[in-house]
Subunit: 570 residues, 2 copies
């Protein structure tokens, strides 16, 4: 039986991405010289060491024991509270929080790496951090000084954690259907009543207090999303002196039995005239939530990369030691990693993971540099495409294990189960694709898409100046892929009069652009590798990965372009 | 919360396949007039009714409670033993067994439908039947009269069940590494010692006795697969008068904790000088096992279709009743089934399922008619392609449910978990693809592949004689797909001097041919529908399904052809 593999943080990939892949020191540019790539790599390596030693060992127990509801309170497995305290004390929450909120304000490109590492080592644990980080951004953008003082400082210090309370039984994708009511009280607070479901880390025992950010409807508010306001409602009420008081009237009714991420408690919360505090303006709830959305969706790209990489590492480790049968053209005793089809699976996984990781860094970099149009263009692509591809990678990881992959103790199945929520939460792939087609492509008549295609063509021109066969093949493949993507974009724009047709192929179109962007990331890597002599083992591996992606994944663009062109269904 | 969906047997699809899709009464041809399509449909409908009322209700409890090891014996959840007895009494095991073994000898095309139905209603239960049916074939081909009398009759009657004991901790794909020893005894029996793993239904409490078919090595046997012989070893020894005696020295050491099919006990069995009886010749073990292999692998195609269809039915049922948000161009209160992307997911699933189902019937028909070369050509394709596609279908079914899909109580996750073993057991997809490339394509220099392409071109010619736009589009798409498949076949043949390259792209090649064959099945459906007026709702749905498959799935052939042409990896 395979023991659970250790987690090895992808420091060398981040070093390559920060220093070389984009042709300059990304971190230096993002921070105006305050930090260099070398500094960032040190941070990444430190995070990786922390994650591997503190978070990764709780990955399995989080799944097997999971979060449990005991007498109305959620309990995490032994070790989670200590790990959270160590995480806080090491300063990781503060490090990532914006300077305006009292954090260290690490740039997005570094947060991309950290996000991947927390999620790879322990995705269930990372969700607690992810929701807290999201709430920090939301409060930093909209909260009053009093809320900042009382709540935001505690979140940034890591002493309290945060949640997002949006979904209700009949209000998932359609937030306009929210029925939770917030009624003003004479003392300026609000009484919140209603039921919220799918509340990630909605209750737990690993920090002192929990701050719920709640979307609710005020009395006489207009129907639909315009009637929603945002409130802070703490698990334990906070006294005027900042000390913790009584339990707020928020009950954990149930926790969900899920396919995966069992270590992340998914709660049903009942609000019964619970005390809340308005954040921002009445009726400004959805705007407040949108602040978090780009960040949370981008973060999903890092989670997808992390879960996929952990699954890959486990499969690669198993294949490197497992001996079974003769391997064609190799001596007896050669492990299965050299079976041609196992090579294929492992390269399929690793080449996808590099593409995801690089696009995550590139998107973060665009945000760091306020190149907003292209950054926001990539958000739904990153969220939708990486999460779908990550599910495929975790499936491949099971396949590499053969029959052992189906046995829970092996651990491969956990990644597969954990991964499956990613294309659903923070907006399903369909929601991402509607955002992409509606707001990012049709609205500007394809102008931003054309910016992307133009940049890819610049990379193709760089490839064409190289003599190397991988550069030549990559340029040729990418040229055809850009042409197919332009045709697909024209198809989408052509459906403007029949939007059902556009939305019928919006997911294929999203996957097409994600696949294309992944090919571009590999092309940038080829250019960077060939800019120095390109002869180290690591360089050779990057060229092989790019070549494999070009032969096995990039051709999907042509398949999807044909699908997009077909449009309407049924 | 969605209740688990009822199971609706796909009677109308089998009626279409038996009567129309292949241009004649398949059942009449297969049985030389003994049975007609009408008879077969009655059998399918009866099986469907039985499965829906007796087997389907145990699908969930099989997963939640699962098989448990209690004091050394495996216990199934309440209801399994009664369901098995009802299954036996209804005569389903006898119905499918060959006439030579004392069964009713239903033709393969009907067994295809039955196999799907048992697996759709309860895949975990169906595995018990599947292994028993396989053993019936193996013993019918090779066993002595005494073994036939003592064991085969009991298996055919359904009173005892059968298992296959191949795998050992270091002998999975590589059966030549088997170490279990069978030593001859003076009384003509054999003493079997060793450990077998992954034994499906290796112990249970739903029938009187269990007959293990064991692959073991005799003393002084040659190394590798040639040294293996086949033995029957019963759980309870059988007295000379046929009554049941003591427990044989076979211990259930453990049952596996698996990702899915929890209702199917997967056992670790320890043989400690257990009594066994030789089947066939010493050293003829692997040949005996190969008898079962075509049948078991074909059967996997029916399981894939069944699990995929059950997942589809649940998703379609949920989407038809769930109302959430506004649906573009549809009135308020329209359920999510009319969201363009939900339409896309549902059509993606159902068009794949029809393709799988039809190819399963076609493969069975080729075996029924002893068109062995093409039948055996399809075996690895059917096994590899349908099981991989079925996993994708179960993933889509989760996606249709949104967040509810990730909650175990919804039931969608079970299909996803159950399905994941299919591309692994009975030979992984890589093993299937090696069989396809090595034995079915390279060995005859592509001659059988060319027979397939020629038949598809006959269907294209039929489509071209129609005026209907779906026929025109299908013909055009299929023409390009056949051309790409010919190129891919030439690529594979071109790798003959570098077999590692061929095996590096053998899975993509298998998926290409499966996808192409699926497109052909839809094309046959288009021809059949347009042969009558083609205006009923069912006809329209078949045309839509074919058109969707052609736009969304068939283009994968072009992607895979590019991958296959690239050959070598790394």
């Amino acid at each position: 039986m395979a023991a659970e593999s250790a987690y090895v943080p992808p420091v060398s990939d981040y070093a390559f991405l920060y220093r070389e892949a984009f042709g300059l020191d990304l971190v230096d540019r993002a921070t105006g010289g305050e930090l260099s790539a070398d500094d960032a790599i040190e941070i990444i390596a430190g995070a990786g060491e922390f994650a591997a030693s503190v978070l990764a060992p709780l990955h399995t127990v989080g799944d097997r024991v999971g979060a449990r509801l005991v007498d109305g309170d959620v309990r995490l497995p032994d070790g989670f509270a200590e790990a959270y305290q160590a995480f806080v004390e090491a300063g990781w929450i503060t490090a990532e929080a914006p300077v305006t909120a009292g954090g260290d304000g690490l740039p997005g490109v570094v947060r991309a790496g950290l996000g991947e590492i927390w999620n790879a080592s322990n995705a269930a644990f990372a969700l607690c951090w992810l929701l807290t980080a999201g709430q920090i951004h939301a409060l930093d953008a909209a909260a009053s000084d009093q809320i900042r003082e009382t709540y935001l400082t505690k979140l940034v210090s890591g002493r309290w954690t945060g949640t997002m309370n949006l979904t209700e039984p009949d209000a998932g994708t359609d937030l306009g259907a929210i029925r939770t009511i917030a009624t003003p009280r004479d003392d300026g607070t609000w009484g919140i009543s209603g039921q919220k479901i799918f509340i990630t880390w909605g209750d737990h025992d690993i920090a002192e207090n929990i701050v719920h950010l709640v979307l609710a409807r005020t009395p006489d508010a207009p129907a639909g999303a315009k009637g929603l306001s945002l409130f802070v409602a703490p698990r334990l009420l906070v006294n005027d002196d900042g000390s913790l008081g009584d339990r707020n009237a928020i009950t954990t009714v149930a926790i969900e039995h899920k396919l995966g991420i069992h270590g992340s408690p998914t709660c049903v919360l009942a609000y019964e005239d619970a005390t809340g505090y308005l954040v921002g303006e009445v009726g400004g709830g959805l705007a407040g939530m949108f602040v978090m959305m780009n960040s949370a969706r981008t973060e999903m790209g890092f989670q997808a990369t992390g879960i996929a990489d952990r699954a890959y590492q486990q499969a690669a480790g198993y294949a490197a030691q497992r001996v079974q049968g003769a391997v064609i053209d190799r001596p007896a005793g050669t492990p299965i990693a050299e079976h041609p089809d196992v090579c294929r699976l492992l390269l399929s996984m690793s080449s996808r993971i590099f593409a995801m990781r690089a696009l995550g860094v590139h998107t973060a970099d665009l945000f760091d540099r306020d190149e907003t149009a292209l950054a926001e263009f990539f958000v739904p692509i990153l969220k939708g495409w990486t999460t779908e591809d990550a599910v495929a990678v975790t499936s491949d990881a099971i396949q590499v294990h053969g029959g052992m992959g189906f046995i829970e103790e092996t651990g491969a199945a956990q990644h597969y189960r954990d991964a499956r929520i990613m294309p659903i939460y923070e907006g399903t792939t369909a929601i991402q694709s509607n955002d992409l087609v509606g707001r990012k492509v049709v609205r500007d008549r394809g102008a931003t898409a054309e910016v992307l295609f133009g940049r890819i063509e610049q990379t193709i021109a760089q490839l064409q100046r190289q003599e190397h066969p991988v550069a030549a093949r990559t340029a040729e493949r990418l040229t055809r892929a850009v042409a197919a993507s332009r045709r697909a974009t024209a198809s989408v724009l052509g459906f403007a009069a029949a939007p059902r047709d556009a939305y019928a192929v919006s997911v294929p179109y999203l996957m097409l652009l994600g696949t294309l962007a992944g090919g571009w990331m590999h092309a940038l890597a080829v250019v960077a590798v060939l800019a120095h002599d390109g002869s180290s083992d690591e360089d050779a591996a990057r060229l092989t990965s790019a070549d494999f992606y070009g032969a096995h994944h990039l051709p999907r663009v042509h398949m999807l372009a044909e699908t997009v062109a077909a449009g309407e269904i049924g």
